[in-house]
Structures are given as C-alpha cells and as structure tokens.
C-alpha cells in the first residue's frame, strides 16, 4: 500500500468533499483501516498563518509554536487519509472524541518540519467504532518533536474482525476543579474564523444552515479551537515538554459562552451549569 506523499500540505476543502461524497452508498464498516501513511517531507511554517491562528485562539505570537499548531499542520494529512476510497469510515458524521499530544521539545517557527500521519487502532465502542489518527512531527535532524493521537468515533461503524463486545467506557476520572477563573465569549463567526486559520472547513462549524444539515441547530466551534484556547490560557506556565490529553464531552454552540477552570494540571471548559464541554490534563514530560 503506497504512502501518500505530498510536496506541500494539501488543501482540506476538496478532501472533505471527496471524503463525504465517497462515503455515500459505500459498503462501510467491516474493512480494516488502511496502514498507509500521509507524508509531507519538508514543511516551512508560515508566520502570517501562525499569527492569524494565534489571534483566533488567544496565543501570544512567539518564536516557539503551540503544540496545537503542530496538530493543525498535520490535520490536512488526516483528511487525506480519511478521504481515500478504501477508508472504512464515513467522513461525514465522525465525532472527534478525544485527543492527546506530546510536545517533546520547544519547536521554533523557523524550523522546517517533516509531517507524518497514519491511521490505526480501530476498536469497538458502544456507539460504533473508534479509531486513531497518529501524527508525528520531526525536526531537521529527523528527531521526533511532537506526537499526536486524534481519536474519532464513527457512529454505527463496525470494526473488522472484532466480535468481542465493545469495551466499557473507562470511568470518567473525576477531578474536583476550583471554580471557573475565566469566561470566554465565543462570537457567532468563530467557527468561520477558526476554519480560515486551520483549514478545517467542516460545514458543521460554518453557519446555521450547513450545521442544520448535520443535525445541529446552530454551528458548533471546532473542538481543536477549544483545546487551543485552553493551551493559550495555560501557556505562560507550561514546561518545555509535556503531554496534554483532552476529551470532548459536548459541542459548544455558537455564539456561546464557556467557563474555564484549572488547578494547574487538570482543566475543564464548562457550560453555565458547570457541565463540561471539554476536560483534560497536562503532564510534564
């Protein structure tokens, strides 16, 4: 199975369109996740784009880039893998369930990077199938500087060769967090703003009309915006290398408000009733 090698990051819009179109009527579900990789061997980071990303997510524009920016760089490769004809799960209707990334060392905006993404780890879930997109970013010397795991839930999806019952959901780790210390106001056009800087033009984020087609009464913000906003809030206190794990609990409708609470290592983004939109934790590496 040949890897997908791109000279530069592919544009996501056509990939999403192809992925959605390709999913219609395709016999889905029991095929294995293809093991090919999607690769950009050398990527020069764009300061203007990083700056726009930093503005939308609340980061200071530094010489060192946020780890969520490195996720954004790998996202087109995720889309490319999922848009392939033999990918077993329909792109429309995938739910980003959780995300984990490790920053191995500070990464400068001046560094040329190699980006690699693979799919794998398909496993049953009580609502369908879970699978991971595993990203890796390497520095000029070939050393790994960032690794990421995006876990997606294919609602109603099946896992090839799996007959065992879906594993029970792990008990939610209950961390008692202090009261919210920040309130974020998410404007109605935030999904379009984030789409412009991340390239993720999934229609559920763009406007009410397109969101309604997919069952949302209003557009929802990208989970990775909320994740990035958390990292921006914690940014000054973060160590040089760390792992950050998040779970996306429920979508944030736009426009909206969200509260942010943290004890320094665990954090939550919550609604007015204190129910979490997102929970997670940071672990120094």
């Amino acid at each position: 199975m040949a890897d997908l090698v791109f000279p530069e990051l592919p544009s996501i819009g056509p990939l999403l369109a192809r992925g959605v179109a390709g999913s219609i009527g395709a016999g889905r579900g029991a095929r294995p996740v293809p093991g090919r990789a999607a690769i950009v061997a050398s990527h020069r980071q764009d300061i203007a784009r990083l700056s726009a990303y930093a503005r939308v997510c609340g980061f200071t524009l530094r010489d060192h880039v946020p780890p969520t920016w490195l996720h954004v760089l790998t996202f087109p490769l995720q889309a490319a893998l999922m848009a392939e004809r033999d990918f077993p799960y329909a792109l429309a209707g995938l739910v980003h369930a959780s995300n984990s990334m490790m920053l191995h060392r500070p990464v400068s905006v001046g560094e040329e990077l190699a980006l690699v993404v693979r799919a794998g780890n398909a496993r049953p879930h009580r609502k369908g199938a879970l699978f991971d997109l595993l990203g890796e970013v390497r520095g000029r010397g070939g050393e790994t500087v960032w690794t990421g795991t995006s876990s997606y839930l294919a609602l109603g999806g099946k896992v090839a060769g799996a007959s065992a019952p879906a594993e029970a959901e792990p008990a939610a780790s209950e961390v008692a967090l202090p009261a919210i210390s920040q309130q974020w106001r998410l404007p109605a056009d935030l999904g379009r703003q984030y789409a412009a800087v991340s390239g993720d033009v999934n229609p559920i984020h763009l406007n009410a009309l397109t969101a309604r087609v997919f069952g949302f009464k209003r557009p929802i913000i990208h989970g990775m915006w909320t994740h990035a906003r958390v990292i921006a809030a914690l940014e000054p206190r973060l160590p040089d290398a760390y792992t950050v794990d998040v779970e996306f609990k429920r979508p944030i409708l736009l426009p909206g408000k969200a509260g942010f609470a943290t004890d320094g290592s665990s954090f939550a983004v919550t609604n007015r009733d204190g129910k979490p939109y997102l929970t997670g934790s940071i672990t120094p590496a």
């Binding site: 990083l50 700056s51 905006v109």
Partner: protein, 420 residues
Amino acid sequence: MPQSPGASLRNAVIVGGNRTPFVKSGGAYAAASNQDMLTAAIDGLVARFGLAGQKVDEVVAGAVLKHTRDFNLTRESVLGSALDPHTPAVDLQQACGTGLEAVIYAANKIRLGQATTAIAGGVDSASDAPIVVKEGLRRALLKASYARKPLDRVKAFTAVRPADLAPVPPAVVEPRTGLSMGESQAQTTAKWGITRQAQDELALASHRNLARAWDSGFFDDLVTPYLKVAKDKILRPETTIEALGKLRPVFGGQDGTMTAGNSTALTDGAAVVLLAEESYAREHHWPVLARVVDAQVAASDYVTGNEDLLLAGARAIPELLERNGLGLDDFTYIEIHEAFASTVLATLAALEQNGTGTVDRAKLNVHGSSLAAGHPFAATGGRIVATLAKMLAEKGAGSKGLISICAAGGMAVTAILEAV
C-alpha cells in the same frame, strides 16, 4: 542646587539585557503586536537569567504607538511571560525617551529600597499601529453607545458626514507645530549648518560600528531571535559613502540634506533590561555590568521656534554633568541616540556652543546606534542601556558612559552609567 546622590542610597546595577532583532516596519514582524514582541523580549531575558516562575519586584515598560486595548500593556506581557504572575507592572510613556525613562524609574526604586529587582524597557510596532476614526465618527459612536432608545442610536449617526468615514493613520507630527519630526529636524539641520557629507559619514560609521559589533559576537547575549530573524535587518554592513550620497533628500525640500540613509527608518522591535540592587545581584552571581549613577530630563522651547525640537539633550547634559562634577572627557563612551544623523551633529555643536565641551568622536556610538540598528521608539532606550552597560563592563570598573535620547515634545532623557 540639588545635592549629588548620597551614599545612603543603594546601588542599582544593570545585570543584562535582551531584545528582539530590530526590523523595518511592515516586514518580518508585521504580524506581531506590541504585546507579542514585549512578551518575547521579556521571556528571552527570563530564559537568559533563569527567572522562570520567579517574581521580579516590578516591570516597567511602554510603547509610543499604543492601542487602547493595550492600557495595561506591560502587565499583560508579564502575565503572558514565564515570570511569576505576582510580578507587578506599570506602563510608562515619554515618547522616544520611554525606554531610558523606564530604566531610570526602575533604578530609582531600587536605589530607594522600594524594589530589589526590576525589568525595564519598551516596544514599538509601526506595522501594527492603531488606526483612528475621524472626530465626527468618534463622537457619533460615543453618542450612540450612550443612547437608551434605538431611535436615538440611529439619530446619533445623522451628523456623520462621508468624509468622517475615512480612517486616520498615525503620524509622527508635533501637535503644536504641525511639523513632522523630520521636517522639524530639517529646520534644525539648516540652522546649525550641518552638511550632507557630515550626516552621511555619521550614518556610515553607525552601520560599520554595528556590523563590527555583530561580527564580533557582541550581541550574542543581548539579542534573542524572533520570527525567523536572528540579526538586525536594517543594518547595511556593505553600504558606502557613495551609496549614501546617491540618496535623494526626504526632508527639507529639494536642497535638503536629510535622506533615508541618514534618518532612522520606521522600525519594529522590543528591548528590556534587567536591573537589581548591587549586593543582591552579587549574591545571585549575576553579572554586575554597570550602576545607574544619575539621570536628567530636559525640555526645549521649540513651539515658538526659539529652540530646536530635538536638541534638549544639550540642556540636560550640562545639568547632569555639573551635579556629578564631571566633564565630557570623563566618559569612556558617549551614546547619543541617532534619531537623525543631523540630530547628533547638532547636539554636539550645541554642547560646544553652550560651553559644555567637545565630544571625542572616537567615543561616540562605538557599537553603532539607531541609524544602523533602527529605532522602534520605546525600545531604543533598552537597546542603548544594555549595549553601553556591557561595553563599560568590558572596559573595566570606573569607566563611565553617558546616554542622551531626544524625544517628541522637545524633550531629552539623559543618564550616566558606571562600570563597578
């Protein structure tokens, strides 16, 4: 006559500095805000001196071109930095004197015992400058925001005329004379008979001196790369007197002598300096580069045309020298900010005319100054203080340096540093 600073005061010393490389506005830092650059400069200093998570007693900085959202620019930058969030901060603004005035503020607090450690500096972006709406639209917007009824809100805009909708870009124009700084300086240049040749020679020396300092590694522990830039980008190491001589005048009309080569370019960048009480610095094995000896601010009567906008340094320096019992010959290095080459040359002429003395040109701006480095207004003071303190430390204890920085509003900020 004020007393010479007494022995009861503590010593405030310059420990080190950090700045971004300086770049032309609209260039490599076009996407960066003042807060981005100031945070980057502070974090570079934090990294250099192991201050992550540590409380500094106060951070003082400012910017000349400032957005209203930046009302707490320095505190916001501290909160975005790796410093302990218990570090308080203050914004200070005195046009191009901001950076040096910030150092003086910090040094005074340390000398009085109100602080033991401090960071001082400044930042400016002419790329990300605020655009202001015209007065008619501004009044309408304010009126509308106070209106209780929707109809009143609409009515508020009936007074707005189409011309009010055009934005007002920022301009460095003196409110009372209506003259830009360059136009004002062109009058000074003509009045003092400063020749084109002399200006171009000073500009050439600035580029050569700064280039030599970069080549020798002098700035390796004073500058941290930012956004793919590792070195000052305005610097032209290869420029020649012939190349400078070919440039057209930009101020003073067709017969003017001031060009883009002997005037500073609009620049983006940030610079900060770490100060500490001397014994504290020594206990922490920090470098003790130079102490802040004294400072003096002065202003000129430029509005009537009696005096020159940018020559207040020639008023401040004699006061400063007299109070400290010093003459120009007592200084190893003299730093006169190069707003324009002719500002420096006219200041030297004015110091001679008023009997202060003659500046030995071999001591002047030895590692280059703003013509070659660029001049992000509020960042220039921090650049000069860190550079001079390091030069004095290399020269040895007792060597003294004098700084003079001219500022809008006909002001100048001056200070004396001495290696300890």
